[in-house]
């Protein structure tokens, strides 16, 4: 060795040490490598002290795009929108303390709707944990009730495995949010990067075996049914089973209704489709549910917004309940034939069995009855050429976008009108907070959707109350030049609550009227976005056409009739044949 020239020797030593070093990575680098291994392309986040090393690693990373939001709640909802529209897990990152707590609503929202999400939070250094340190919050404790699982990483050697497990848990079985809390010093400590090919989770096993006896029973019940109804929910969307649902319905000529979360799993444009069921469902769907002798619940959880009074719900029906989560079977509604399993797999098995049978049930009387209801009780509202009716705006959005847009909503009357009046023929196009009913979800979710689908038309349909909840995200939209169209159905009220006060509290309107609203057109202009105020029905269409044709973000402030209510309506807790505003 000594004979080697000094320079050459130094170079060799340097290379060897490089080699040694490249086998060791900081926790932050390990985190990003693991995210890359999971195929993550985009993360939504907001920096802060405890995540500085992660942000430093992001700075050097070329494969992952970071979208800086204006509030951590925007980040988690955006990740959620990304996940809903793609089926891939959404990823968000926030710092410790308030950053982490600002994720709580978004995590709860994803949990209720079973959306795969991985939330990464910074935490104070291990030595400072449990001492009420600056920006310390027990986020794993806080999120225990609203995550599928959560991790506090205490050793950098565990980090890669934890990330792998987190993605596995978030995306398999019934999907859901998983949180990884990483103390700051873990992100600077070094370890080698070992991405375990196999995971060993003793307490988490996915049941892949579908009970053939149950399939047989279900098929039999379906062939014997006189008044069957398929009821499809978010689980069908999550498992990618839209095709199978369609095959099943069309093969047997079974009518189909859906929950809010199931919208798009079966096309609204098919004769067999009855639209949404439940509190603001169509009359025909609710009547069909009321009279059905067989209800086939597919990836649904018979939520109270669907069932109304549980004791009278589908009281004449045999219930087949297909869901991946065995805990859902029989939780709210008794299932005569429960089938635990992935919806897509179960339906495939079911279709196999059904195809082998030559008899088809005769449903003519039932389908005629339903056709009669559809004719007698269509969705309707009073048309006006003076006032803009909110339903009219939705119909116009549908026409202008030819039913092909990604539609995000906030929560309130506009959400229900959208579910009612925007016909969809594909899953993952309707992005809405179902279980938690989170106002402020739509705008950031639309960012996630637009980033996942840069060439598609994305609408956020909002109310004036909801849009103010996360309006700071207009800055993120401006920064990333996202051509989202925001349609505000502005009635200067918290309309849905106002509606309840009108109908159930004798018109005692308590704090549902909002004065002090901004001028949304000026607000748009403050961001350099396009703003239009629309006050006459005839201006609705041109405004929408302008917005859709333009590559800019438009904020469309539709001043709609503020007395309009969402009908039909089943009062909370009433039987679903008890319908107001038929």
């Amino acid at each position: 060795m000594t004979s080697l020239p000094l320079k050459q020797r130094e170079k060799m030593l340097h290379e060897v040490s490089q080699e040694l070093h490249t086998n060791e990575f900081t926790g932050a680098e390990i985190l990003l490598k693991a995210l890359e291994a999971e195929g993550v392309k985009v993360i939504f986040g907001y920096p802060g002290g405890a995540v500085l090393p992660i942000y430093d690693a992001l700075y050097k990373n070329k494969n992952i795009t970071h979208i800086l939001t204006r509030h951590e709640q925007g980040a988690v909802h955006a990740a959620d929108g990304y996940a809903r529209s793609t089926g891939k897990p959404g990823v968000c990152i926030a710092t410790s303390g308030p950053g982490a707590t600002n994720l709580v609503t978004g995590i709860a929202n994803a949990y209720m709707d079973s959306i795969p999400l991985v939330a990464i939070t910074g935490q104070v250094a291990l030595a400072a944990l449990g001492r009420d340190s600056f920006q310390e919050a027990d986020i794993t404790g806080i999120t225990t009730p609203i995550t599928k699982y959560s991790y506090l990483v205490k050793d950098v050697k565990d980090l890669a495995r934890v990330v792998h497990e987190a993605f596995h848990i978030a995306t398999t079985g019934r999907p859901g949010p998983v949180l990884i809390d990483i103390p700051k010093d873990i992100t600077t400590k070094k370890a080698s990067f070992n991405y375990p090919p196999e995971l060993d989770l003793q307490g988490y096993r996915i049941n892949n075996v579908i009970n053939a006896t149950q399939i047989g029973k279900a098929a039999q019940a379906m062939l014997e049914a006189k008044q069957p109804l398929i009821f499809v929910g978010g689980g069908a969307v999550a498992s990618g089973a839209a095709e199978e649902v369609t095959s099943l319905a069309q093969m047997l000529s079974f009518p189909v209704t859906y929950s809010l979360m199931g919208k798009g799993a079966f096309t609204d444009n098919d004769e067999l489709c009855l639209g949404m069921v439940g509190m603001h469902g169509t009359v025909s769907a609710n009547y069909a549910m009321w009279e059905a002798d067989l209800v086939i619940g597919i990836g649904v959880r018979f939520d109270d917004r669907v069932t109304g009074d549980l004791s009278t719900f589908a009281k004449n029906a045999t219930v087949i309940h297909i869901d991946i989560d065995p805990a859902e079977l029989g939780k709210n509604v008794y299932a005569h034939i429960p089938i635990a399993g992935d919806v897509k797999q179960v339906l495939r098995e079911l279709l196999k069995v059904l195809k082998a049978k030559s008899v088809k049930p005769d449903l003519k009387p039932w389908l005629e009855k339903i056709a009669g209801w559809k004719k007698e009780f269509p969705l309707r509202y009073e048309k006006s050429d003076r006032l803009i009716k909110p339903q009219f705006v939705i119909q116009q959005i549908y026409e202008v976008t030819k039913g092909e847009a990604f539609i995000c909503t906030e929560v309130g009357q506009h959400q229900m009108w959208t579910a009612q009046y925007y016909a969809l023929s594909e899953p993952r196009r309707f992005i809405s907070s179902g279980g938690l009913g989170t106002m402020g979800f739509g705008l950031p979710a639309a960012m996630g959707v637009q980033i996942a689908h840069p060439d598609k038309i994305v609408f956020n349909i909002a109310g004036d109350g909801s849009i103010q909840m996360n309006s700071q995200e207009f800055a993120t939209i401006a920064q990333n030049k996202l051509p989202i169209n925001v349609a505000i159905l502005n009635n200067h009220n918290l309309g849905m609550v106002r509606q309840w006060q009108e109908l159930f509290f004798e018109e005692r309107y308590s704090h549902t009227n909002m004065s002090g609203q901004p001028d949304f057109v000026k607000l748009a202009e403050a961001y350099g976005l396009k703003g239009l105020r629309i006050t006459r029905p005839e201006d609705v269409r041109p405004a929408l056409e302008e917005a859709v044709a333009s590559p800019s973000c438009y904020i469309l402030d539709f001043h709609v009739d503020d007395t309009e209510n969402v009908f039909p309506m089943v009062p909370a807790g009433a039987s679903i044949n008890n319908i107001l505003g038929r």
Partner: protein, 169 residues
């Protein structure tokens, strides 16, 4: 070192969650936790075994006291006290070796509470040392299943720790 704390709490839903959450959040290590009603049905008593130095144990006590439902807390580690734990052990027991097992059972003054074709369930009560000892004495026979209650403890003497007055730790 290990400390044995007895904690009197109001018998209300969620108390156990609050205490478990506190330990997790503050990073304290629970060795075991046993809980049950006292002579007063409105009050439960927990026996918690915690690992930690004096400073940690002092914090544990103070933080526990901050929970509204915690009425009284005593560290009885250094007091004269009786502590007991119960274990159920399911052990392989071919008829041929049953005699040997019975002997061990007798030595530990344990009991056989169930007899299967090839197995026995043995119940033993005692302090931690004894419980550990019987478990290791039975291990060579092949233990199929073990369940332990965790420690419960009571100070010796006439004075009651379930009294209403708080005592400083």
């Amino acid at each position: 070192m290990k400390h044995t704390l007895t904690v009197l709490v109001e018998n209300k839903p969620g108390v156990l969650t609050r205490i478990a959450g506190l330990f997790a959040r503050r990073g304290y290590n629970i060795e075991s936790l046993a809980v049950g009603r006292t002579e007063n049905p409105a009050i439960s008593r927990m026996t918690i075994v915690v690992e930690g130095d004096d400073r940690v144990i002092e914090q544990v006590g103070k933080q526990l006291y901050k929970l509204i439902e915690v009425i009284k807390l005593t560290d009885i580690t250094n007091d004269e006290h009786v502590d007991r734990e119960m274990i159920l052990i399911k052990v392989n027991a071919d008829p041929a070796i049953r005699g040997e097992i019975m002997q061990i059972v007798e030595i530990f003054r344990a009991r056989i509470v169930d007899i299967g074709r090839n197995s026995l369930i043995i119940e033993a009560t005692g302090d931690e040392g004894k419980i550990n000892a019987i478990e290791s004495a039975l291990r060579p026979f092949g233990i199929k299943e073990v369940v332990r209650t965790g420690k419960i403890a009571m100070a010796r003497g006439a004075k009651s720790k379930n009294g209403r007055n708080q005592e400083a730790l």
